[in-house]
Subunit: 321 residues, 2 copies
């Protein structure tokens, strides 16, 4: 633990493995990390497969290193080079950072963890923050509820799109529009980039994706003066173009978060969700352990029509309370 907090990469790796496997020592680890565990800026990077998430992440790591930040990367993307799904080129490029002591890169799998990645990821973010990372980039594939949940653990969420993939529509479907603080149309030199850019601008103008402490209908498309209107940027991460503008937008969003108190609000909301999930997980384990009148016995009675579900729930709670 001491060595992890001093930034020893092997010690950090071991701790994240414990997090992934849902080790019984997690409460002690969490306690030992102390207040450093919340100090990192957490940035979520999401988007459909093929939009260039790992290339963009790679360039962002480079940009943050240039300004002296220590960077952690958690890749929870099955198509990511970190987890083995991508082409060799990406893999090799990422290895540039692998020998940089100021960069910690880690793929996450959900093996063994009770709550899956949605539970393991915030714990891993705390480990990286505790090990001295100033910035933690969490890269996820932007499809499905689980990924939206993981993205929601970030202070700032960056959604990548690529031209001609129908991504703008997909983004709405998957609920990603609501979680995006910054959109990046990557591969901006390709045909259709302008159309994608306009589509997403149009959707934002229609009032989607506005975050703020309150939402009202007004003259400016539902925004209040203190609201954040999602930024839309263009980039070509493979050519390292447009990266500085992304970093600038990230810092602008950070300043907004702090100025408006939204950072505190988001972090408290996340903390509440995490605490509740841990507590409910504990209770679920207790349900399974109840002797006699356990969940399975009650379920059999309900399935047979001998008991109704509400009465069964009451009996279950009586068993643990």
């Amino acid at each position: 633990m001491q060595r992890a907090r001093a930034g020893d990469p092997r010690a950090v790796a071991r701790l994240i493995t414990l997090v992934e496997s849902g080790d019984p020592a997690l409460p002690q680890i969490a306690a030992a990390l102390g207040s450093d565990a919340v100090k990192a800026v957490v940035i979520g990077i999401t988007g459909s497969p093929g939009v260039g998430k790992s290339t963009t992440t790679n360039e962002l790591v480079r940009a943050f290193r240039k300004i002296g930040r220590r960077v952690g990367v958690l890749a929870v993307d099955p198509s990511s080079p970190f987890t083995g799904g991508a082409i060799l080129g990406d893999r090799v490029r990422m290895q540039d950072h692998a020998i940089d002591p100021g960069v910690y890169i880690r793929s996450m799998s959900s093996r063994g963890h009770l709550g899956g990645l949605a539970a393991a990821t915030p714990a891993a973010v705390r480990v990286l923050a505790g090990a001295g990372c100033d910035v933690v980039l969490v890269e996820t594939v932007g499809v499905g509820q689980a990924e939206v949940e993981i993205a929601s653990l970030a202070d700032t969420t960056l959604v990548l799109l690529a031209p001609g993939m129908g991504d703008a529509i997909q983004a709405v479907k998957a609920g990603i529009l609501e979680i995006a603080d910054i959109f990046v149309v990557n591969k901006a030199d390709r045909d259709g980039a302008d159309a994608t850019y306009r589509d997403i601008q149009g959707m934002i103008a229609l009032g989607g994706g506005i975050s703020g402490t309150a939402q009202e209908t007004g003259d400016n498309g539902g925004r209040l003066p203190g609201d954040w209107r999602p930024k839309v940027l263009k980039a070509s991460a493979a050519k390292a173009e447009g990266i500085d503008a992304i970093v600038e937008a990230l810092e602008e969003h950070r300043a907004w978060l702090e100025r408006t108190g939204e950072l505190t609000r988001r972090r408290r909301q996340r903390a509440a969700a995490e605490i509740e999930a841990l507590a409910l997980g504990e209770l679920r384990a207790k349900f399974a352990e109840l002797p006699g009148e356990g969940l399975q016995a009650l379920a059999a009675e309900v399935a047979d029509g001998r008991l109704d579900p509400y009465a069964a729930s009451t009996r279950l709670l009586d068993g643990i309370l």
Copy 2:
């Protein structure tokens, strides 16, 4: 309650409205329904918008009426005629059944209910079964986790596809393949129907979508002798073609469920999930009510780094246990 159990449509309607709004009297209602609440055959009907779910549901209602069954329909589909999204033709056709006392049709919305439709739908199914419906058809749009959950409350799940909509691939993505017992390629007279049919057959042959009490890799694509291999049928519901074959497949699946004990297993699993969801909902409400050391206060401490989430979870549980 007496009148609902006797099948009075207005009394049934009132009960389902109470279910939708999460009325405090739900436990008493559930208790009063007694063992009739589990007697109906529950069939889930799902698929993307535009595949012909309501037309197919309509024809299935007709077919079940012809063989003397009392039928309940719960439409939890925003694009369904019952909830206002479809064309007038469908709406009028469904009204044929509206004057049949052996058919009870109801749309479901999630207004007010704590657990949303996923919580309200099983309760509404019990009301319909308690009111004497032999068959309850639950129609949902097959996109998103919530809909998959709702479909999973059925004994048999029927997934509708239509030619040329890329549905086969979508089905895999959305996790629908895993829940389908019967596939119906609707609009089978259209171009591409054969290709869709072959696609879905191919995916089943690759070992997806096999349900059974155990799954092993074997010579027959992962199936064991007692396993159910999803049926794939073609139909043109708008022309009332292929409906008898669907009813036959539904009864065949029913016989399989009963013969193998899978019906009991599925219903117990569903009952366990429902009981647990009710119990966790109660506990979540208790968390919110805790004085002083309540969830919000603990979340603020965790967000500030003064407390770790595990310690906060323990304190939260100490508050209610």
